[in-house]
Symmetry: C2
Subunit: 514 residues, 2 copies
């Protein structure tokens, strides 16, 4: 009886608290918008490639300090060979639930030559570059801030935005005198863009810190393409493969040997062209065989997702999409095979009259439930052999080169991981959905799985078997992983609102022990 | 009668002079080898991309001064928008012939990231890098110099080597008290690697300087693969084409859009794979139709060229060569189509999880007699259209992108030129062949045409209708146009010998006025 009453009151209680929290957020942003942006620019100016041992630790220490000065008990968790996890906790007397907020402070590698600005010198634009935005000065305290402004820098969206949003939310709630309703833990990963190879080891080695977590709040990835608020319940798996094909033992003059020496650019093209048809379907035997169909419940949720096809095609300037006219979200239920990089010799002003001695393709594979990363790589290798290629795993020696006409070196990803999903109607998850809905209303988009991949999904859902939700705040057109990455200021403010809501969710429902 | 006597004596007279000249060369090299190498390193340290207006002129002034101090009347010839031609002349009283020595002082663009050393910081190796050579200190005066040493730097072979060899030859002959037998002119081109677009204008605008040239000695390109001395009588034509294919209007996250957004890497591969079969034959309609067969005389000379197939395949580590088992020199009688560069996104450590928004291929086409550059480009365009592509010549606008599924931007080379050859038995050319043979003996290789292209062939042979010979000195394994370009010291010394021989050729035979 008491439980039923509580559940009935839930939306109302939640909403009341939500309103106060959102008000606290808005008050804080209105007074301190320029200061938040300025703090953000400071964080973004720190290079954060996970492989850059010195700089990645500077980021970790900076973030550790950011929350230590705000009352969190902070420590850097260490596992050999990995950047530290920035861990924090804030205990609330009498709290029955513990939420662990996950984000990552490392970023994708950068190729500065392709960026319009330096990737680690944040620049503010009055709107998105691709919409004709122009650079503007950072605002001074007291100046108005426009929601459509964008900050351009590596990791502006992926994934320092939730960290700075949380920082501002902590300040906002403190200023408003609002208390957290649950225990809060922080887990800031330092190697997500390197595939989070150690995240499982961290959680295992430090399991006493995480055993009591009720729900993980996984803050990574963009909101829905319409800009509507979004929660997701899993992600695709991922693996990759790099292919290097070999011509002569050294680059040759295209005049002296052109029409005689094997031509790696054409050889690689022939190999790749054999893998995918002109409609974008992968034509590697068995590539789609292991796909598990999604559940009826998930299909129901998917059917409610706004249809954005024509807007999306217009936004991305697409005449066609891969496959046979399925929607984006239907296509994300299948494994992908995409070229993330091609390289041979040079093009443009640097092009020289040579026949390069190698050509390289970097392939990305996104996986869905049922796809095993190793087996998917095996399928590609089997296909390559069927096309008459000899596969090597190191650069071939002279004898091997003399023996085989078509040689390809295969570099298999060693950090691939499968897709992972949590059930959308898990009893510990429903209250979080309700709290967020109390703030966003019905426009909240619920997606069974995102197209992207985060090793943390697999670790949380499949290894330690805890529920989690992907809580997204950044704009979808953020150029994540590419050059000119950016965050829309309005999305940053939405993130502050949402963090305030999450930190003050009502303690409702029974905690499910697993 | 007198003429017959002279022709009979020719080999003997030539040989006597040759012996003295070569002795002068060797004496000079033995005493001054380290100093010549040191001067060469100084010249190679000057960046020499034709587009680099400031540095290319530094090279020109340096070379102008090099020969001015050695008794040549020097001037910089100017044509708007071009690096200067370094022109020089040395008049010999009573000379009946005038030889113009052509070389170029500009070099191919460099991509320093692919070089083992800085391209403009010359390094000396004790043998070729690819044979396991190690860097060594530059020799001091008096120290022994080994023929197998190599200098690594951009333009070490292509094409500053003939310039430094000529410098040393001038010094060698002066020291030995030997006089030039013909008038000598110098024409050092500053934009050969940019296709020598102004060479015709230079020769036309300054025609009074060149009207009296008997034979052009075109010093560019390597000796035969066996290392044997080589003369060539023409070159292939050349043109190129850059293709850019388009996916979405911006790079996309490979997770969020993989399996949905068009994939430029695969699209480009499919287009390229349609152009060439697995044997290396171009399968574009009409690509081989316009080829003119070579003459019976040329075919005779070709039959005498040493068969180097097995050595060459071993040297280049080739299991197969393009076509159906023809020799290199047979293949060079056909037009080529090779990929000189492929580019999309990134590979290796810089690879990011994106679907790039474009993919680019830079194609090179070498042409033979009968091929018109523009018509060959037209054939490729027609082929592309037949594959269902929409061709644009500028980046497509939004409307165009929405209208066509497969869009490719075609950048046609504007500086292509056709193949050009001179008759091997031209009466003004025979005495030069004889002189060189007097020094080299019968191992001299005579090739009707080289695989490479030099606009100067077309200008000299077809526009101003003068005879010319391609006089080659550098090693064939010089990585010309690629990274780690180098020259073998023994070839540099051969170049000094040969320049001494050419500067002191007997004045024999009747000059043919054309």
């Amino acid at each position: 009886m008491k439980k039923i009453l509580l559940l009935c009151l839930l939306p109302f209680i939640g909403l009341a608290q939500t309103n106060k929290s959102v008000q606290a957020s808005r008050n804080w942003i209105n007074k301190n918008g320029p200061a938040i942006i300025s703090s953000y620019a400071e964080l973004l100016a720190m290079p954060n490639n996970a492989m850059d041992n010195v700089n990645i630790r500077k980021n970790a220490q900076y973030i550790q300090n950011m929350f230590a000065t705000r009352g969190f008990a902070m420590q850097l968790l260490e596992v050999e060979g990995a950047p530290p996890v920035v861990y924090g906790e804030y205990k609330v007397l009498g709290a029955t639930r513990t939420y662990c907020i996950y984000a990552h402070y490392d970023g994708q590698p950068v190729d500065p030559t392709t960026w319009k600005n330096e990737p680690f010198q944040p620049v503010l634009f009055d709107q998105a570059m691709y919409k004709g935005g122009k650079p503007i000065a950072f605002p001074k305290n007291g100046e108005a801030v426009n929601d459509n402004w964008r900050i351009y820098a590596r990791s502006a969206s992926d994934d320092k935005a939730p960290i700075i949003a949380l920082m501002a939310a902590v300040d906002a709630l403190k200023t408003a005198g609002l208390k957290y309703t649950s225990n809060i833990k922080l887990f800031f990963d330092g190697e997500e863009e390197a595939g989070s190879p150690h995240v499982g080891t961290f959680i295992k080695n430090y399991h006493t810190l995480f055993d009591d977590v009720t729900v993980w709040l996984l803050c990574d990835g963009p909101v829905f393409q319409t800009g509507d608020p979004t929660l997701k319940f899993g992600g695709r798996g991922v693996t990759d493969m790099e292919l290097t094909v070999y011509g002569a033992s050294r680059p040759l003059h295209s005049g002296h040997y052109g029409n005689y020496a094997p031509d790696p650019g054409f050889m690689l093209s022939q190999l790749l062209a054999s893998m995918k048809d002109e409609k974008g379907n992968v034509i590697i035997d068995g590539y789609y065989s292991s796909v598990e169909p999604i559940s009826a419940f998930e299909r129901q949720q998917l059917a409610r997702v706004p249809n954005i096809e024509s807007t999306l095609k217009d936004d991305l300037a697409l005449n066609y999409t891969e496959g046979s006219g399925q929607t984006l979200f239907e296509r994300l239920l299948l494994p992908s095979l995409t070229v993330k990089g091609l390289y041979a010799g040079n093009v443009g002003a640097l092009a020289r009259n040579v026949i390069p001695n190698t050509a390289v393709a970097s392939l990305s594979m996104r996986l869905v439930k049922g796809n095993d990363p190793e087996k998917m790589l095996d399928l590609v290798e089997a296909h390559i052999r069927k096309q008459g290629w000899h596969i090597v795993y190191e650069d071939p020696d002279h004898e091997t080169r003399m023996k085989y006409p078509k040689i390809v070196k295969v570099d298999r990803d060693k950090h691939g991981f499968p897709a992972a999903k949590v059930s959308m109607d898990h009893p510990d998850i429903l209250p979080v959905i309700e709290s967020v809905k109390g703030f966003t209303g019905d426009k909240l988009v619920l997606l069974p799985s995102e197209g992207g991949s985060n090793h943390i999904f697999e670790v949380i859902f499949d290894e330690i078997k805890k529920p989690g939700i992907s809580v997204n705040i950044v704009n979808h057109d953020n150029n994540q992983h590419a050059e000119d990455e950016n965050v829309r200021i309005g999305n940053l403010w939405y993130g502050v609102d949402l963090m305030c809501v999450l930190l003050t969710m009502p303690q409702t429902g029974k905690v499910v022990k697993k």
